[in-house]
Amino acid sequence: MNNKESVLSKALSDETMDGQIATLNLGPTHPATHGIFQNVLKVDGEKVLSSEQTVGYIHRAFEKMAERKSYQQITPLTDRLNYCSSPINNIGWQMTVEKLCGIEIPKRVQYLRVIIMELARISDHLVCNSVIGVDSGALTGFTWMFIERERIYDMYEQICGTRLTTNIGRIGGFERDINEKFHTLLKDFIDGFEKRFNEFNALLDRNRIFMDRTIGVGKISAERALNYGFVGPNLRAVGVDYDVRVHSPYSSYQDFEFDIPVGTEGDTYDRFQVRQEEIRQSLRIIKQAYQNLPTEGGYHADAPMFYLPRKENVYNTIEGMIYHFKQVYGEMPYPVGEVYHSVEGGNGELGYYLISDGGRSPYRLQFRRPCFIYYQAYPEMISGQMLSDAVVTLSSLNVIAGELDA
């Protein structure tokens, strides 16, 4: 069941290069670790024997803060978990509250959410894959793909006004409807992205150097990966087809046709390929959702008790004023009870466990942060490998410090 010791001792017992074991500090701040976490490596020459991790360098106490904030105020907190794909976190949290309160969401809002979440997934995977390129010595892909990310950011700006920490949407829908500019940008993106993405793919996909650097590097078996709680692209790279979007569909994902790409070996190359294919599948979902976007349904649910009213209604109508006041002061009848809701985030199953005592704030809110759980497998994945392979493995795991430490 647990063969961690055997993996480590195997690495230790292999013949050593010169018998001298050195200690190497990778982090807390190091160009090769994208984010702040420390790995103290025991190395023999270039070979990594073992690693000890320290995390918590940007622990910000989200869960404690959430116990003091109203339900609406928690949306901006979730932005800062996995900041490469903040809309998924935002919408995941809003769906959790909607599940608690039993709010019905119109089909149109669900489709819009799907479009935005898939855009976020594309931008998350683009960062990860281009950074794998950077760490194996190919900077070009990074510069190309950040142009694509900027296009996605431009679309976010049309919906919520900001780029990175989006605070997109409200409980019950969106704060405003999508505008003409968004339609234009999205159409351009759908038309042009695939071609540019294929160029990026051609840079690395069958690149001999890249393949040599990544194939067989940072391997993990399916059994160990499940035992370590791997989710998302990293789990699919070992060959397990678990995807929350299919397993327990939310926001009408059952309406769309898409494939779950899986790998076979569970090495860095597989993780790269799975993410590449997921980007294509995300684009496929966006196309379907945009084509079938209902014209009727508005941009928010009819739930005045929980949906924060528009500012002009707050200032100009008495109902808007009352609802706004009561929501902000937490006098709304939030149900007592608990709910677990998970969405497929950029790194896999992002869960929200919410316990409500009927008050203004959650009694307890816990985030299931995929990074935090699977990053502990890192020492096992790199022991016995070369130092430069450890760096590529780390970037292919896509560990985001904000999500790791919360």
């Binding site: 003091r68 569909p249 809701h341 869960g351 307890r364 816990q366 935090f372 759980i373």
Partner: protein, 171 residues
């Protein structure tokens, strides 16, 4: 994907196996099977669910603590385990109450490697001691911290900010 197991089916099997350790079932909004269990038998139960051929609950979703300061004595802390059977798409939630003066429960790190850090985090936040854990120390906070910050009696604020005037915050 529909779940292949029903809550009743699993609960019945659990009751048959662990007659005295299973407490009452709780109805939750998300309809996941939620049962209160005896903390002493959590390890055994998780292991049984893991090796059970029909259920195959082999994925640890999460472990977390909850602090209920107003509960009766001996039930101030609660540990919640979320387990998931990927093959049957079935989720189960186990809850165990612990006394705050001696919050001890068996670690399930030997069953799930993922539990290592999650249990350390729960210890860090709530001071829940997981027995037989290989390396139970703080993970997110500094080692020098002398309290468990997620317990309800501790405040969230840093307390050193001067730019926050209470008059403007209604405190």
């Amino acid at each position: 994907m529909e779940s292949k197991l029903t809550n009743e089916q699993v609960l019945e099997a659990l009751r048959a196996q662990f007659a005295n350790a299973i407490g009452e079932e709780e109805q939750t909004i998300d309809n996941y099977l939620t049962v209160y269990v005896d903390p002493k038998s959590v390890h055994e139960m998780v292991k049984w669910l893991f090796i059970h051929d029909g259920f195959r609950v082999r994925f640890l979703t999460n472990i977390t603590g909850v602090h209920y300061p107003d509960n009766e004595k001996g039930k101030e802390l609660m540990v919640v385990y979320h387990l998931h059977s990927l093959e049957n798409n079935f989720r189960i939630r186990l809850k165990a109450f612990l006394p705050i003066d001696k919050p001890e429960i068996d670690s399930i790190e030997d069953i799930y490697s993922a539990a290592n850090w999650i249990e350390r985090e729960t210890y860090d936040f709530f001071g829940i001691v997981f027995k037989n854990h290989p390396n139970l120390k703080r993970i997110l906070n500094e080692d020098s911290m002398d309290y468990f910050p997620m317990r309800k009696e501790y405040r969230v604020e840093d307390g050193t900010r001067q730019d926050k005037d209470d008059r403007f915050f209604g405190r």
